[in-house]
């Protein structure tokens, strides 16, 4: 089947997509966007988190057909011509990145948390929001620092 989807502001078409393929597979293998990572393929780790119509989802759990005529934003779509998004900058500055494999999912999830937060999120809210994102390198603490910083908290 053909899937037409707007990715990072650009209409993209993937042909010969098998009905069982995930959005993640189409992004990575057919549209040349390997930023979202494949680490568990069953929604346990959050490494493949992307926006689907403004909602963060695990792209491995979304059938490609479900994305038809919808809007996807991946980690590749967050930086602007002026440079890194503040969330990305905070991850670099706080040392929240090690091997980097979980990073794209965490960046999108953090981006979504801060976009949806009315005030400044507490540690508990941050940990809850990132509960579905596994990391095996950093021990999470520097990630929390990065989110605090990106949220503009004084202790960030």
């Amino acid at each position: 089947m053909r899937v037409t989807v707007t990715v990072n502001g650009e209409e993209r078409i993937a042909d010969d997509v098998w009905e069982g393929e995930s959005l993640l597979y189409v992004l990575r293998e057919r549209l040349g966007l390997p930023g979202a990572k494949n680490a568990c393929e069953q929604g346990e780790c959050g490494s493949c988190t992307v926006y689907l119509d403004g909602v963060p989802v695990c792209a491995c759990l979304v059938a490609a057909g479900q994305a038809e005529s919808r809007t996807v934003v991946t980690v590749e779509g967050l930086a602007s011509d002026e440079g890194l998004h503040p969330v990305q900058q905070a991850f670099v500055e706080c040392g929240a990145v090690q091997c980097g494999f979980c990073t794209p999912g965490l960046i999108v999830q953090t981006h979504a948390l801060l976009a949806a937060s009315e005030g400044v999120p507490s540690d508990l809210e941050i940990r809850e929001a990132l509960a579905g994102n596994l990391c095996r390198c950093t021990g999470y603490e520097k990630i929390l620092d990065a989110v605090r910083q990106a949220a503009g908290r004084a202790d960030g």
Partner: protein
Amino acid sequence: MTTVEQRTGLVGQGVDRVDGPLKVTGAARYPNDFSYPDLAYAALVRSTVAAGRISRLDTAAALASPGVLAVITHQNAPRLERAPDSGLTAPPPPLQDDRITFHGQYVAVVVADSAEEATAAARRVEAEYEPAEPILDMGDPRAEWITDPWGTDSSRGDLKGALASAEVRFEATYTTAANSNSPMGLFSTVAVWDGDDLTIHDSTQWPSYLRKAIAQVFSLPEGNVRVLCPYVGGAFGAGLRAWPHIMLAALAARTVGRPVKLVLTRPEMFTGVGHRTASEQCVKLGATRDGRLVALAHESTTPLQIEGTQFEPCTAGSASAYACPNVITRDRQVRLNIPWCNFMRAPGEAQGNFALESAMDELAYELGMDPLELRLRNYSEDNPRLELPWSSKSLRECYEVGAERFGWSRRSPEPGSMRDGDSLIGYGVAGVSFFWYQEPCEARATLRKDGTAVVRSAVTDIGTGTYTVMTQLSAECLGLDMAHVTFELGDSDLPAGAAAGGSGLTAAVGSAVQAACRNLVRAFLDTVRDDPTSPLQGCTIDEVSVGGGRIHRIDAPESGEAYADILAAHGIGELSADGSSTPNDPKVAGMAPSGAFAARFVEVRVDPDLGLMQVARVVSVVDAGRILNEKTATSQIMGGTVGGIGMAMLEEIVTDPGTGRVANATFGDYLIPVNADIPDMEVAFVGRPDRFNSVGVKGVGEIGLVGIGAAIANAVHHATGRRVRSLPITIEQLF
């Protein structure tokens, strides 16, 4: 003696990761991010018995499936050679016969136009087996035992006599579960043939060895093979072997005449790329009433894949951890029909330290002594096994600084005596004396006419920070801004690199980088040796220093010349120099090489009514010699700490006792720490540059994980009065 090059400046500063921007934008390319025109995909079929033979293999249905290009089994696979030993036996080449030695062994690989088609067809391969009774338990009388597998057993003094006459004796058995490396990045191989040339993208920690291994398996000249791994999604030791799936990807690509991508599934990560062995350990201690160790025996038994090898001495560290005159350490392995055992962050040390440091805590209670005091009373000022002074050791300072920061003096000795509301509070401590390891390594430094430098070595950065710290070090050695230096790695065509393992890479590649940079400065001096217009004419390397993109005379810093000017003046496009490092010899150096040391202080909180246990605080004080980058080093310790919490409280590979199947091979079933499990963590570094290598470093990659298990178990005992001698510590063990 090796001179430590300790300068102030770039090195040491917590500068941001140079690879950070690429990683936060999704632009860093991991092995399975690579794509090629006409790429095909491979999927694996694994055995469903742990021992026996394949009696029937029917691939017709799979071959007839949509998009399928080939199905390779032992019936049609070409003969492959065995990979060379890397100091350890390589896994045998796959699909060479019908024998099965573990549940999950590859019996076929299916290649198709898409990954989904390959996966679907793999399910249609019909395999039947003539099963044998697998050996799955260390108590099985059929199991083969190996004593002193690596010649690391040690003995000094008269252990028996000392134990018999000791005023206080203690003995206990400790066990640890098998753990899975489970890096986030699924191990992946993309294989691309061009005639007899083979390019491999792979999740390896050791491209120089992997190239050699692939070349030998496929009977190719080494120069025909190129291994690329600029980014690896974690590995923790899993990338140190030339695994069979790598060979299958290359074989599949050769068979179908197209590039092939093979990405392991998460369940395949549990059987295909090794795991930390379980262990069963006995510790016997003898001491005087005032807490001086007179006898220490540490014996360990660990499982081993039935045809495998693994270097995992759990007891070796105990021979030099404490000043004790009568010591025996012994390791044994037992061959089982389980997946390959392999290195996982702090192999041997993680298990061995849990037993020794738990036993020391138990002895302290027997003696009625503060556990911290017992450790200080038996401090080994020299290496007691080699009888040489340590190349550096600030473990005492680790204990002192850690106790102060943690507030150890607030501890009341009696178990169960500290509370906060409904929670029982427990304090625990453990000491760590990590092993030393280093391999030979090569590097090349090049200065270009625009004054920028590129330094290269075929090493890897598995998240540790190698790109960053080697950029810092190179910039310092050449007197350049970091922005003018690029460090390249992850390519087997670069100068041969050491493995990212054993916490030894930074010393190895750092020493090689220093040598290459020094030789490069020499090459510039050679260039101007006879140049009357150069202020550096006739200068030797010892008469000059570097800074601001130029070389200058030490005695007259204003007299110097920029690299770029020298190249321009002599019409040279660029200048390169090689450097290499080999590990020092303890006997020649007259000192015992030190690994890192650490003291770990842990507070746990246990709710006795609900059975909930939480690690509330961890204070880690580490002597890792010279710290090249405070930010990345701290991250290493924090990440290791959380790995240690996983080992202590969550992680256990469950193997079905009847079939040998790994029963919890997903992130839903094999639990690793998540955000909510994270305590308040504090990390501090103490100590001086180490004297055993010219960089002055002691690796920080693994020590962060060690000692956490014992410190948590000791804290649990302090909180509850319950001694848990088995990891992971689960609710059922507590109540």
